[in-house]
Symmetry: C2
Subunit: 373 residues, 2 copies
């Protein structure tokens, strides 16, 4: 079915061990597709900055990055202070690093979920009487476990999502939800990859996804590498092609999903969902269970990141608007569950009413103590 070997060659963020020194490595996505530059980060502050600057982005990918960043913090602390440092002090530092990382991007729940899980793991290590080297080892292992689970979740989302795609389909996607956005081969794009590799002929309309152009820069690049036919469009063309382009379904990812199925995702998603409903086109959200936040009854409570208006008034440093004007830059919007045909997770496909279906899918998952309930 899935070509896992080939998938392993594509990775967006990973741990690098060089003797006693650890580092977090990642593709600098802010430079794609023009340049493929690998960043080697040796301090947790650099990891936080990379997340804030969107050098790594995508809800699952920043969850994995934050976990690796916390493993890096302990590794760096050992380098600096040696192994005589009290484990409790190391854990206190980890809590601060967790706050630092958590503050970079408030909307995607995967990041907070990942930080919480790493801190819980460290606290357990203290209770277990671990030494500092053992704590460091355990943190690396836990970060790798999070990455590994995300990799597996991508495989399962791909398989489930592909069942919603027919041979010959023309689909539309917004933002980037592929291997650059996860530790595996993606969420929404994984469904498209699985469908494509199983022999279904597809054509993908790719929203460029202003302001940061993740569609034009990242999704178009991923699909091109995979050999899947695509048409890049501006976000403003989606309605026109829904009417005339034969689009059979919309596939997007998610940054946080509330208990009622409201979905926070890249700005523009809500508009695409309203347009899809107006054209009677199914609208699918694909995300791992780590994106579901059952503690929030609805999307109204999801914290919304407001980014720098410079992303609107200039492109790659070139001004495209008059100096001194006011611009808004909400990074996300909320799509009410009522616009969503189905939510595809790594544990299966949820359909309305989401209050019941999401809770059912997450039952076993949350019981293992991942803590986002």
């Amino acid at each position: 079915m899935t070509d896992v070997k080939r998938l392993h060659e594509k990775r967006t963020v990973w741990w690098q061990q060089d003797g006693a020194h650890g580092a977090v490595c990642m593709i600098d996505q802010s430079l794609l597709p023009g340049e493929v530059v690998i960043l080697t980060l040796t301090h947790e502050q650099q990891v936080a900055d990379a997340i804030a600057r969107l050098q790594v982005r995508g809800a699952p990918a920043i969850g994995v990055t934050a976990a690796l960043g916390m493993a890096l913090a302990i590794s760096r602390l050992r380098d600096e202070q040696g192994d005589t440092l009290a484990v409790e002090q190391a854990v206190a530092h980890l809590r601060n690093v967790g706050e630092l990382l958590r503050g970079t991007r408030p909307t995607a729940v995967n990041l907070a979920w990942s930080v919480d899980r790493m801190i819980r793991h460290a606290q357990q290590a203290v209770r277990d009487g671990c030494s500092l080297p053992e704590l460091a080892q355990g943190m690396q292992a836990e970060a790798q476990a999070i990455a590994g689970e995300d990799f597996e979740a991508c495989l399962r989302m791909g398989e489930f999502g592909a069942t919603l795609i027919a041979d010959g389909d023309t689909l539309l996607t917004h933002c980037n939800t592929g291997w650059l956005a996860t530790a595996g081969w993606g969420s929404a794009l994984a469904s498209i990859y699985v469908a494509h590799r199983s022999g279904k002929k597809l054509h993908i309309f790719v929203d460029e996804t202003r302001p940061v152009l993740q569609g034009a820069r990242l999704t178009a690049w991923e699909l091109q590498q995979e050999g899947i036919p695509l048409t890049l469009i501006t976000d403003s063309m989606a309605a026109h092609f829904m009417r005339y382009g034969g689009i059979k379904g919309v596939f997007v990812g998610a940054d946080r999903i509330a208990a009622n199925g409201d979905v926070a995702n890249k700005i523009g998603t809500y508009g695409v969902a309203v347009l899809a409903q107006a054209h009677a086109i199914p609208f699918y959200v694909v995300a791992p269970r780590s994106t579901i936040d059952l503690s929030l009854a609805s999307g109204e409570r999801i914290p919304m990141e407001q980014r720098n208006p410079d992303e609107i008034t200039s492109i790659r440093g070139i001004p495209i608007a008059p100096a001194g004007i006011h611009a808004a830059n909400p990074a996300f919007d909320v799509t009410p569950g009522s616009y969503i045909t189905a939510i595809v997770t790594d544990a299966g496909i949820a359909r309305p009413p989401y209050n019941q279906s999401l809770r059912a899918l997450c039952a076993g998952y949350h019981a293992v103590g991942t803590g986002n309930v």
Copy 2:
């Protein structure tokens, strides 16, 4: 009411007479707002190129530009060949120039309307036994008449449109429909200008309008100069701010309006209209009667300009997508009349059913022989 004197200071395209030599002058809108460069064009081919390159754009403005271009063609011909040239030969040349200009941008009917009117005027001059200098003089006068009528039409559209705007309103607009788009102070923006100058407090959400960014570059610049508070947003944010931003109305222009009220306008307009309807927000189209094409029963028959995909894959020459990918670039879309709350013209406000209301508004206008029926 309207500060006509101040309006005359703002002009986007005009005739310049330097002794015996004429020229068409315009602000190079492709460089705004960074640079304000005036182009002085002395050959009709330059005028055609300027229209094709969007150095001048906006349906009424390119209609006026084409008329001035035809006056320039005769002026240049006299410079080159002297006044012994037969008038019939001059008119034959004008027909070729008309085809050249008409071919630059197929969607906006004002351009074809203007070319037809200039040719009819030339043919009448031949029938009247005019000399070549008289023909040249007449062509200049006719072009100026078209510009003058557009100026007056803008005043009236502004007055009619402003009646739809209340003190304190937050509005949304797409593309540029101000003085840069017309020979006066605009179509949709004229309504906003009149409302603002009459003391109504307004806040305008400005869609940046990818790919050519007429909203970010031109509308934001115009509103800033006028002192009207604005928020620049990406096109993908319109839905979010319709839901949460208190938007009370959408005002857009038009490039061609069919007899049933279907409106061709800048790509993205259709999506905005669907979103407005979903949020129960009135959607207004503002355009002079020269934009109405009663010869077309519906929008299905409006010719749609497809522009170079480079406008999608690069911004100001900088690539923003992988090399070699396919991109679509329809310059316009069609909004069905069923999404349009009212069409504001220089002769009054048309409401559904448009088949009746538009024909009624145009009755006198078309009777004077402007020929777009």
